[in-house]
């Protein structure tokens, strides 16, 4: 029987396609006392690099995976235990962890597969992580041109205590590319229809950018289904949007057109990796996507390049708790005046400041 005082820090899973991660650098040493939220290490994947934060408090007894080592998801990276746990027990845990990696058992574990549900004649693709519990589930709704994979740093940690569903809006990801009239109400009805389709009575809705406006509209349409709303840099909050980015994104067909635009998404443009550009190009080449993006552009922007959505208007009368979060360096939708939570990030705050976002979702 394992000693319950011994805790393992393991390789996180950031996104569907991540199979292994490589430790770039540890920020803590053996013998450090670590607390929840401390930066532990930078980890690189084939898609993106990120910072692993601690989800435990205690004494870091052993670093199992040195810098430069590449390990599968779930592999033990470090061991945390109180000082009174003898070294021999720590050694045993480390040996067991190394044997687990050696055996290949981690790679062989079944990966969660996206599922799909029909909503109003459209196929809606979604990925569910986390087991059914007493707690109300979370539903994540991405922004314009995004998909369920944009929650890569957020979905797995949220799923430790409840099911978390990330869906692809119509016109996005693996969902049907037909967006009908592309209206906000059609998108909101799709989210409500999704909840019905997978049998969710009530959920915490988290939406980013266009998805923020969509979940606000969903809460207005079906308030009984919404436990809370978390809006990350939501569309329709006033201020002049970066119409050049939005129109450019809709129109771009080549890497040379797309790549310079994407830097505006992040506070740190270095996060625009080759892989990100390639993934977006692959998406934009799919039949129906250019038309869908053009149609949805009209939902986001007026002809004059102003916000076409009034999200505060949608929120009027919504009784569920609403949290609005913004990246201070958002270059797509401007940080609004008034009281919103702020984090150090650009527009893709759920990628750049995932750990702050996790703390701000009212669960």
């Amino acid at each position: 029987m394992a000693d319950e005082r011994i805790l393992r820090i393991t390789m996180p899973k950031w996104g569907l396609s991540m199979k292994t991660g490589k430790i770039i650098e540890w920020f803590v040493e053996e013998g450090s006392t670590i607390s929840t939220g401390d930066d532990l290490a930078d980890i690189d994947t084939d898609k993106i690099a990120g910072t692993l934060e601690s989800t435990v408090d205690g004494l870091l007894r052993r670093i199992v995976a040195p810098a430069d080592s590449e390990l599968p998801i779930g592999a033990t990276l470090a061991v945390v235990a109180p000082a009174e746990v003898p070294d021999s027990e720590i050694d045993a845990v480390v040996a067991e962890a190394l044997a687990e990696v050696e055996s290949g058992a981690l790679e062989a574990e079944a990966e969660p597969e996206p599922q799909s549900v029909e909503v109003a004649g459209r196929t809606i693709s979604y990925l569910t992580l986390g087991a059914e519990t007493e707690a109300e589930p979370v539903v994540l709704v991405h922004g314009y041109g995004g998909d369920k994979n944009s929650w890569l740093f957020v979905q797995q940690p949220l799923a430790e205590h409840r099911p978390v569903h990330a869906l692809d809006l119509p016109g996005h990801g693996a969902s049907s590319k037909d967006v009908g009239d592309g209206s906000l109400s059609l998108l909101a009805d799709t989210v409500v229809g999704f909840l019905d389709g997978v049998g969710i009575e009530r959920a915490h809705l988290v939406g980013h950018s266009l998805g923020g406006a969509v979940v606000a509209a969903a809460a207005k349409a079906a308030p009984e289904k919404v436990a809370s709303l978390t809006l990350l840099a939501p569309a329709g909050f006033g201020g002049r949007p970066n119409a050049g980015y939005l129109r450019g994104f809709a129109a771009a067909t080549s890497r040379r057109e797309l790549k310079p635009l994407l830097g505006d998404l992040f506070a740190d443009p270095g996060l625009v990796t080759r892989q990100l550009v390639d993934d977006l190009l692959r998406y934009k080449r799919l039949d129906g996507v250019p038309e869908a993006l053009r149609t949805l552009l009209g939902t986001l922007l007026t002809e004059a390049g102003e916000q076409a959505i009034d999200t505060p208007g949608l929120l009027a009368g919504v009784e569920a708790p609403v949290t609005v979060v913004w990246g201070r360096e958002d270059k797509i939708l401007p940080l609004p005046e008034g009281k919103v939570e702020q984090v150090d990030a650009g527009h893709m705050l759920h990628m750049e400041a995932a750990n702050d976002i996790l703390r701000l979702i009212p669960l």
Partner: protein, 337 residues
């Protein structure tokens, strides 16, 4: 999760999805079904290497076996295209094109121009190219430069399964004649390919790998060879950028030039014979447009100016490989130093 299929399957899927979408799309060529018009098994072959297999049963009357007369059935395909169909004709080996040059060069390639834009010729001519199949001098050539030379033709040469599907769908939807060159040694290579239909625009190069020391432009199967070379070079601290033009006509000159402006060095890898090759063409373009950025002479890695040998050992020497590419890169990087 992402699905991996082969180059062969990717082309087959593109044909199937386009035939499904557009009833004007037809497929024709030697044994494209196999057995049509004779007793016994239907769809026995699906073309010489099985690319069209399975389409015969799904699209009755729209997959045709043709006689072994390239001049006749390529002419027929071009005529059908001018008449409103969108034929995809398979001309087994690019080496056999010689007998239908008039149909391709003088007819298909000229109609749009000579009829003032009023006539279109949406034909795709699928053909296999490249050495390495031990098929000797008449079945191993890399004649892309011949077709790239002719205005009015478009030429696609996918290097992987993902590009093969997207380029084939673009080729079928294109109103101009397209030579679609499939490298015979790539048919069994696999990549992640979306189930959904998608198009890759012609004239848009793929940056296969980013690097700051040298630009390697490679075509078809040579893209994989260049990637191997780049892995080796990275071990000695040389970061190579690899550009796959994907289509040789139109050619994405901007991406090549931007890369050379950044790296200052160019190595072009082309399986063709060296004289009047794509390597010459791209090298000349860069010399003319980006001379000021070059820090070393442009290097070409091609086959020698000989027919492709029948001997296995000689054929292996004929084809550019990772070692030859890495050698050329090192010469470029060491130049003047």
């Amino acid at each position: 999760m992402a699905r991996s299929i082969t180059y062969r399957e990717a082309i087959n899927e593109a044909l199937e999805q386009e035939m499904e979408r557009d009833p004007r799309v037809i497929v024709m060529g030697e044994d494209n079904a196999g057995g049509e018009g004779s007793p016994g098994e239907m769809d026995a072959w699906g073309g010489v290497l099985g690319v069209t297999k399975g389409l015969y049963g799904k699209f009755p009357g729209r997959v045709m076996d043709t006689p072994i007369s390239e001049s006749a059935f390529i002419g027929a395909a071009i005529g059908a295209a001018t008449g409103g169909l969108r034929p995809v004709a398979e001309l087994m080996f690019i080496d056999f094109m010689g007998v239908c040059f008039d149909q391709i060069f003088n007819q298909a390639a000229k109609f749009r121009y000579m009829f003032g834009g009023k006539a279109v010729t949406p034909v795709v001519i699928r053909t296999m190219w490249g050495a390495g199949l031990r098929a000797a001098a008449q079945h191993s050539q890399s004649l892309l430069p011949v077709f790239t030379h002719i205005p009015g033709l478009k030429v696609a040469a996918p290097s992987n399964a993902y590009d093969a599907k997207g380029l084939m769908i673009s080729a079928i939807r294109d109103d101009d004649p397209v030579i679609f060159a499939e490298h015979k040694l790539l048919y069994d290579t696999a990549a992640e390919v979306p189930q959904e239909s998608y198009t890759i625009p012609f004239g848009e190069a793929n940056i296969v790998r980013e690097g700051s020391d040298v630009t390697i432009v490679a075509i078809g199967r040579m893209v994989g060879m260049a990637a191997q070379a780049a892995d080796e070079l990275a071990g000695s601290g040389i970061q190579a950028e690899i550009i796959d033009p994907r289509t040789t006509s139109p050619l994405d000159t901007d991406t090549i030039l931007e890369s050379v402006e950044n790296t200052g060095r160019l190595v072009v890898v082309d399986e063709s014979n060296p004289r009047c090759s794509l390597a010459c063409d791209i090298g000349a373009m860069v010399a003319q447009e980006a001379f000021g950025s070059l820090r070393a002479p442009i290097r070409m890695v091609t086959g020698p100016h000989t027919p492709v040998p029948f001997s296995d050992a000689l054929e292996d020497l004929f084809i550019p490989d990772a070692a030859k590419i890495a050698g050329a890169v090192k010469k470029a990087v060491d130049y003047g130093g």
